[in-house]
């Protein structure tokens, strides 16, 4: 999760629309507006992106009912972000799952796989209440596909067909595309059909239902309209 691979404008739009009671699926539950600048602390302060609005904003605003994530809390005692604050007060629920199983649950949803057995989880709390079955003497836990109503992803380029091209690690942006009823891609640039060649396309457009181009001038406030 960084300003360069995060669908910030889509998150800000969800915040402005007032959608609430959300179940949010994400690697981590974000830092919120006040501390999102920490994500680009390798840059001098005056060069850090001002338009990074992460999922912590939705937690801060009280719009999230439940998080499904691998990083529900800050990594140190001193790091407490909005989702963790609400979790500590019993205002949100959480389902904690490892990155690998989370990724595979989402991929399965795109791929029409109802459930799968993974060797990661047995012997830990992740397997509680779930079926465990042995294959070649190794316990595997049954995980189910995780389908969403909306997938918000960020890519660098898209064409009007929804074909996506990424720079750098493609992360959950590629994994989540197509694993929801509606996938919306926020991109830096929409290019003419054909400019993304067949051997460049990372996500075929059939997995993407809407494409949104980021504004040229970065916003400084999530409440500002595009």
């Amino acid at each position: 999760m960084s300003p360069w691979n995060h669908p910030s404008y889509l998150v800000a739009a969800v915040a402005r629309r007032g959608a609430t009671d959300l179940i949010a699926v994400s690697t981590a539950m974000g830092r919120g507006v006040a501390r999102s600048q920490e994500q680009s602390r390798w840059l001098p302060e005056d060069r850090r992106p001002t338009d990074y609005f992460d999922i912590g904003l939705l937690a801060e605003l009280g719009r999230i009912r439940k998080g499904i994530t691998s990083f529900p809390v800050g990594a140190r005692h001193s790091l407490v972000y909005p989702f963790e604050e609400r979790l500590a007060r019993g205002e949100v629920e959480v389902e904690v799952i490892g990155q690998g199983s989370l990724a595979e649950r989402i991929r399965s949803a795109r791929a029409g796989i109802a459930a799968f057995y993974t060797p990661v989880g047995p012997g830990t709390a992740v397997a509680d209440g779930k079926e465990v079955r042995y294959f070649r003497g190794v316990p595997h836990v049954l995980e189910t596909a995780l389908h969403a109503d909306f997938a918000l992803v960020r890519a660098q380029r898209a064409d009007r067909r929804g074909n996506l091209w990424f720079r750098g690690a493609r992360t959950f942006n590629e994994t989540m595309a197509g694993a929801a009823t509606v996938t919306i891609a926020e991109v830096d640039e929409i290019v003419p059909l054909g400019e993304l060649g067949p051997d460049q396309i990372h996500v075929p457009g059939v997995y993407v239902q809407r494409v949104v181009e980021r504004p040229r001038a970065p916003a400084t406030d999530w409440r500002a309209l595009r």
Binding site: W4, Q39, W42, S70, A88, V120, T124, V126, G168, A169
Partner: protein, 186 residues
């Protein structure tokens, strides 16, 4: 991280990067699209590959990583690893650790030997919730290097100024101490 000269080591980042280079400290040289853990820009040497999260974890779970180096809160003689739940927090962070601990051919835990309040972190049995069962092969702390095999924690090396007895004194599990336990040489 110190990499030996003349050896090529492939570094994998769970975000979906294989073959990244050293951390780039000059913000003008850094490529913001090539970061690890989301915040550290790294170099893109020849041969670097990018992928999705699910592909990254297929690679991890499918056994393609030789070594995973993880932090630890507790480890025990059965090689169980707990590095998830911080005291007082309402939940624990799992991250990619369970998959890495399972998938890597060797799991090395790098951690302080005791907590900041002096509690032992190497135990007969972990008391904290487990991140992954029976996965730790080697433990490297600020005072010792140990191997874990068949329910035994074997002391291999001690830090300069430390003795096997001193290390045992801050370890809450009986260590197997071979005849020769040399000092760590960097």
């Amino acid at each position: 991280m110190v990499l030996p000269e003349g050896r090529e080591i492939l570094l994998h980042s769970e975000l979906g990067v294989l073959g990244y280079g050293p951390v780039v400290t000059d913000p003008d040289e850094a490529d913001p699209f090539v970061t690890i853990v989301g915040t550290l820009p790294v170099a893109s040497p020849p041969g670097i590959a990018f992928m999705s999260h699910d592909e990254s974890f297929a690679m991890i779970r499918g056994g393609y990583l030789d070594v995973a180096v993880l932090g630890g809160m507790q480890i025990d003689r059965d090689g169980n690893l707990a590095n998830t739940q911080l005291a007082g927090k309402p939940a624990g962070n799992l991250g990619g650790a369970p998959d890495l601990a399972y998938g890597a051919k060797r799991t090395v835990v790098l951690m302080y030997h005791t907590t900041s309040s002096g509690e032992p972190k190497i135990l007969d049995r972990c008391t904290l919730p487990l991140t992954a069962p029976r996965c730790v092969d080697r433990v490297v702390t600020d005072v010792a290097v140990m191997d874990i095999r068949h329910g035994e924690i074997i002391l291999r090396e001690v830090a300069p100024g430390w003795t096997p007895r001193a290390v045992q004194a801050i370890t809450a599990a009986r260590l197997s101490i071979p005849g020769d336990v040399p000092e760590i040489r960097l």
